[in-house]
């Protein structure tokens, strides 16, 4: 065994000979950026060896100075001696240790109120002052409570576990029959989950989770009144087994789904603990976890086999799991707390999509709408109140800030806007923090600016030698947005490889949009509203997105930037049972069109592998 000490966290871990530095870091509980899952492809898990040495050092992707200083890729570096290692700031996956509030609250409050839902949250707390029984009017404690709740909530069937029944006499009498009852809705059946003394109606917390392939986002909400308290996000730790779900499914099949379940559940637990600590909320007061995510993610969460999802005819185990005890999957909330895994559509269109449809309410409108969810898997839904068609295309994580060297999630310090002012390329960061990386919206802006400034051509190649610099690798150039002179490798830049990944992502999504429109013989001009969802934080510059061809050139007022609709929809479902039930309706009303059967997809994809598009006349004619 050898000891490996990591700076700056000062964590030590002891590992067997031949363990990779990446595994060692994970064992030490440290998050390290990696997209390829430790296969030496992405070049993101950079570390500096301060003391000790490793055999067979790989020089890529470093320059000479860096190699001399001891830079290595953690996934390709095997430990055979005691080591002291530094993880440079940029290469730490910081999500789990320093989460950040994202945009919610002000923005989603009016959104929820204007929908006129009136029903109960999935878990509700009611304060009841019972008449203490007398010799003339006496009901058993169990029936007293059940009838009281039935009457108040107008619910026909009620169930109560023996554990709760056992504590009834004490809780009722110790509190003078003034108690708060926690009621969880499991479809049509209500369950009394807890009973406690006094009025605690106002601390009915739930956690809403968007389980993205690349990013996991959690919102802490209170159901009384319905408010979002805080939010946090982290990169999905499953990415060590591949940046896309297919790789993870293969891993699950070879090893076990449990491995992936644990990584995901640990991520969610960490976010929950963090949210609770930050807001002084007792974890026991979290009565429900409501999760949305793609179908594979939901399977991983529930430890269900994903083997058949990736094989023809792509059949999942379930697309509508019943509510379960959250503790059954290892979520650390109230022991009787419920886990709602929202209903999805098919093996490749999950509840993040049904939640998205719910959030933008397109299934209630007469007008034709199109929703795109820009994530690792780009999803497209087209339709109105009469019909809905969904499709999905693998886009890669570039627009979420991953697979871009200086990319990061939308959090403080991320460059989120890039613009030209008096001929100079400028930027702004989230919360005006010093820049540490660039997030999706900044990436879209920067690409658009580089194109307008003729620093890149429409193929995404650098064509201005004066405004780009060499990377150290032969024939490789980069555009430096933020120059950091004192600390090497801390500047923020974009390489041609990054640009290629971004173009690939936008092309995959745009091709999916094109095909679904073509299949229904619709033109872009037939669309009334174009909803854009994705983990972009506050902001997305629509004009720039059109300029690079992520979006078609439509009048700007047709676009509606809706943010993270997965979490918004999941929140609606958590807050209103009516909305929850609508998910089932959405599920059955949506037809999934599989692009695997579209033999013109590749052609459309290739057409879109250009800025903005090979059919450039269409852009020129309209914009």
């Amino acid at each position: 065994m050898h000891s490996v000490k990591f700076y700056p966290s000062n964590k030590s871990v002891s590992v067997r000979s031949g363990t990779s530095l990446l595994e060692a870091a994970r064992k030490a509980g440290l998050e390290v950026n990696t997209n390829c899952g430790g296969e030496g492809i992405c070049g993101k898990c950079k570390m500096i060896i301060l003391e000790g040495d490793i055999p067979d050092k790989v020089s890529w992707p470093f320059n000479e100075a860096q190699i001399k200083k001891g830079w290595v890729l953690a996934c390709l570096s095997l430990v055979y001696k005691d080591l002291t290692v530094e993880i440079p700031k940029k290469h730490r996956g910081e999500g789990n240790s320093t989460p950040v509030s994202e945009n919610f609250g002000e923005e989603d409050k009016p959104h929820i109120n204007e929908l006129h839902y009136k029903t109960l949250p999935v878990v509700t707390k009611i304060y009841i002052e019972f008449e203490p029984p007398t010799i003339f009017s006496g009901q058993a404690d169990h029936q007293l409570v059940s009838n009281g709740v039935k009457k108040r909530l107008n619910i026909p069937t009620m169930q109560m576990g023996l554990k709760i029944i056992k504590i009834l006499p004490k809780v009722l009498r110790n509190n003078n029959y003034k108690v708060t009852i926690t009621v969880g809705l499991r479809r049509d059946i209500a369950e009394i989950m807890n009973i406690e003394g006094g009025d605690t109606e106002s601390s009915n917390y739930m956690v809403i989770v968007d389980m993205g392939t690349t990013t996991v986002v959690a919102h802490l909400v209170n159901a009384h009144p319905r408010t979002t308290v805080d939010s946090a996000s982290c990169y999905n730790s499953q990415s060590i087994h591949g940046s896309e779900v297919t790789g993870r499914m293969i891993h699950a099949e070879r090893k076990s789904v449990k491995v992936l379940q644990k990584l995901l559940v640990d991520d969610i637990n960490r976010l929950i603990v963090m949210l609770c600590e930050r807001n002084n909320v007792d974890i026991k007061n979290i009565n429900a976890v409501v999760c949305a995510g793609n179908t594979a993610m939901e399977h991983f969460l529930l430890d269900l086999s994903t083997n058949n999802i990736r094989r023809k005819p792509f059949i999942p185990v379930t697309v509508e799991p019943p509510p379960l005890r959250a503790s059954e999957v290892g979520l650390k909330v109230n022991k009787r707390g419920l886990l709602y895994s929202l209903p999805g559509i098919s093996g490749w269109v999950g509840s993040d999509l049904t939640a998205g449809i719910l959030a933008v309410q397109m299934y209630k409108k007469k007008e034709l709408g199109l929703l795109i969810d820009i994530g690792t898997n780009g999803e497209v839904i087209l339709g109105n109140r009469d019909w809905l068609v969904a499709t999905s295309a693998s886009a890669g994580p570039a627009l979420e800030g991953a697979s871009v060297e200086c990319g990061m999630r939308a959090e403080p310090g991320a460059v989120d806007k890039v613009f030209v002012e008096s001929g100079i390329i400028k930027y702004s960061t989230i919360n005006k923090q010093p820049p540490i990386g660039i997030c999706g919206s900044g990436i879209i802006d920067l690409l658009s600016v580089l194109l307008n400034e003729k620093i890149i051509d429409r193929s995404g190649r650098f064509i201005d030698e004066n405004r780009t610099s060499e990377t150290g690798e032969a024939n490789k150039r980069r555009f430096v947005l933020v120059e950091e002179t004192n600390q090497e490798d801390n500047s923020i830049y974009l390489t041609e490889k990054d640009i290629e990944n971004i173009i690939t992502a936008k092309a995959a999504i745009f091709a999916a949009i094109t095909i679904i429109m073509q299949r229904l013989s619709l033109k872009f001009s037939d669309l009334d509203t174009f909803y854009i969802a994705g983990a972009f934080g506050y902001y997305l510059n629509i004009e720039n997105a059109i300029n690079i061809g992520l979006l078609p050139p439509l009048p700007l007022d047709k676009f509606k930037f809706s943010g993270n609709t997965s979490i918004k929809g999941a929140k609606l479902a958590a807050f209103y049972q009516e909305a929850f039930n609508e998910l089932t309706r959405i599920r059955s009303a949506t037809t999934y069109y599989d692009l695997l059967g579209a033999d013109d997809y590749v052609e459309e994809f290739k057409k879109a592998m250009f800025l903005p598009h090979t059919d450039i006349d269409y852009w020129r004619a309209i914009s």
């Binding site: 429409r458 064509i463 290739k606 250009f610 090979t614 450039i616």
Partner: protein, 315 residues
Amino acid sequence: MKIPEIRTTSKSRISTVTIGALKADGGTRGSTITIGGQSAMPHLSFDGESPHPPVIAGYISDIVPDWPDFLKEAIGSEINSPLEWAQKAVEEFGVNLISIKLRGGLAETKDKSPEECAGLIEDLLKTVDVPLIIWGSGNEEKDRLILQECSQAARGENCLMGSATESNYLTMAAICKADKHKLISEAPVDINIGKQVNILLDDNGFSLDDIVMFQTTAALGYGFDYVYTIMERARSAGLQGDKLMARPQLCDVGEEVWRTKEATVGEDILEGWGEARKRGPMWEAVCAEGYLQAGADILIMAHPEAIRTIREIIQ
């Protein structure tokens, strides 16, 4: 019964490109060639017009290509000298223009300097008075230098330079603009890239009217159908209003056909396939004829027999 009107009218025309410059226009050519200008698909004369028939460019290389003996014999001993070969192609084979490939510039062959290559172009311009298509060695880095020198040497002669790709279009556009040449835009059997290269050139202020498209050529049996459909789609798009695709097209038939087994090996290998001496030129002619149907405006060809056959078809 009334016969229904089935004529297709095109929305636009293919651009007209002239290669070569006469004395009056600042060059030294005795003739020029003009291609393009169509308003209908090939051979559909009832739909529109095709004012300029396709032309044949004689395949010339500065080093002797690795070709079967029967082909070298058909060309004659002149194959050993690019100047004599070009002269014979014009005078005896009857080609309309000359296509010269400077393969000798490759390090693996003769590693000729850009100046040597340019010297050959100067001599060639003196030897023949038909227009020229000038290609580099095939090595992109070296061709930046070779083609720049050759372009200067042929300044004012309005040659067709080959070729601009996604990765070198900036250099090629600058060279051709400076020395007033026409330019081949090349794509690797990909209609989208074909269009993209044209957009890139257009973005850089290179006039689309000075472009001839080259979708890469495939010999019969080696992806001919892919290239055929790409050329046909490109032409069809051009006629239906896509300005970026409304450009004349070039096919390098000779280069591809004479690399195939079917055109070159004898009956000892391909039993029952007939004499290679006859089969080879037929293969080249059939391939070229196919591309005429797809919308080729310039065919680069090597075998005198095949050239004769296609010339007759065109006439």
